[in-house]
């Protein structure tokens, strides 16, 4: 299957390019054409990694940013797509989480970062217009997707 090998070559290229920046790379998330690559990074390397992806590998398509509350810590997953999907994953502390913006590198991330800010209370440093995207005016209480907001 030349198709599969081509797709695997994509993954190889990405892993090679990010080798110096990442903590680990594994194919963990299940997806239709086979499992998808997940690259775990330290938070401070995120911008550097995205810059490599955008500038060296020509990745343009960010599908979305998924936040998750895995108490005690939070994770953010940046789902990219080039020929096939892959994910950058960073881990954030549960208390006062901060992440650097990637809007200047991938302008399409603007709304997703706002959503993450509203839903998880993760401050996105350097975002030009950081307000909650979907929450109603005057929302009180914890960010809705955090575990602390769980009702019994």
């Amino acid at each position: 299957m030349s198709d599969t090998s081509r797709l695997n070559a994509t993954y190889d290229r990405i892993v090679c390019a990010l080798a110096g920046l990442c903590l680990s790379a594994e194919t963990r998330i299940k997806s239709a054409p086979g499992d998808e690559l997940v690259i775990r990074l330290p938070v401070e390397n995120l911008r550097a990694a995205v810059a490599v992806l955008v500038n060296q590998l020509g990745v343009t398509h960010l599908t979305t940013i998924t936040g998750e509350d895995l108490t005690p810590e939070l994770t953010l997953k940046y789902h990219f797509w080039q020929e096939r999907g892959f994910t950058l994953e960073v881990e954030l502390p549960g208390e006062a989480p901060v992440v650097a913006t990637i809007v200047d590198l991938v302008p399409g991330a603007a709304l997703y970062e706002r959503e993450v800010y509203g839903m998880f209370g993760i401050a996105v440093e350097g975002h030009p217009d950081l307000q909650p995207l979907l929450l109603p005016d005057g929302w009180e209480g914890p960010p809705p997707l955090r575990k602390e907001g769980d009702r019994d």
Binding site: L135, P136, D137, W139, P144, G149
Partner: protein, 198 residues
């Protein structure tokens, strides 16, 4: 002669039917149809009760009621629904269902409308907006909640951002369950409402 109205009496939240009757709807009912036109004449008729005048009044009322039944203009507001009922409402305007046969027109401005069609559960963000639209509509007005979500909250009941059904925000005169309602159900509900305008 009419000044800007102030709304200090907001619709009562959902309760039993009796409780709701005490709200603005009940006032409307006691005034009878023909809100101010008739009230002015009633005052005139109070001093000298002339049978001919009263009979005339009855005829006028009958004509007005007939006109209201035959010309309901609708305004549609989606207060947080999934679109399904909205497109079914729009579908009632299109050739297959053509509600213009019943005189129904879809209006854009709340000031022109008689019937407010609400779809979807009421979200926190659109609650005040829904109330304002309701207030902007001139009397006599009716509210129809279209779809399961707007009748009771439906699948979104208990969601963190959802207030609940439409009748928690504005008084509702007709509930049409369905997810989404068929155009037939919407037309049927509207026809029932019009019949009750007697």
């Amino acid at each position: 002669m009419e000044q800007t109205r102030t709304y200090d009496r907001l619709p009562t939240p959902r309760g039993t039917k009796m409780q709701r009757e005490e709200g603005p709807k009940a006032c409307r009912k006691s005034l009878g149809p023909g809100a101010e036109g008739s009230s002015r004449q009633q005052i005139a008729g109070d001093s000298r009760t002339e049978p001919t005048k009263r009979r005339l009044q009855r005829y006028v009322d009958a004509v007005v009621r007939w006109a209201r039944r035959k010309s309901p203009w609708i305004l549609h507001y989606n207060s947080g629904g999934c679109n399904g009922c909205d497109i079914e409402i729009l579908a009632t305007l299109t050739p297959r269902y053509d509600v213009e046969r019943l005189g129904i027109l879809k209006e854009g401005s709340p000031r022109h409308a008689d019937i407010l069609l609400c779809t979807g559960p009421v979200t926190l963000q659109s609650r005040d907006r829904l109330r304002r639209i309701y207030e902007q509509m001139p009397e006599p007005k009716w509210v129809v909640s279209v779809g399961t979500c707007s009748c009771s909250g439906g699948v979104f009941k208990g969601a963190i951002n959802v207030v609940g059904s439409v009748d928690q925000v504005v008084p509702v005169d007709m509930y049409i369950p369905g997810c989404p309602c068929r155009p037939e159900a919407i037309i049927d509900g509207l026809a029932q409402l019009l019949r009750s305008i007697e």
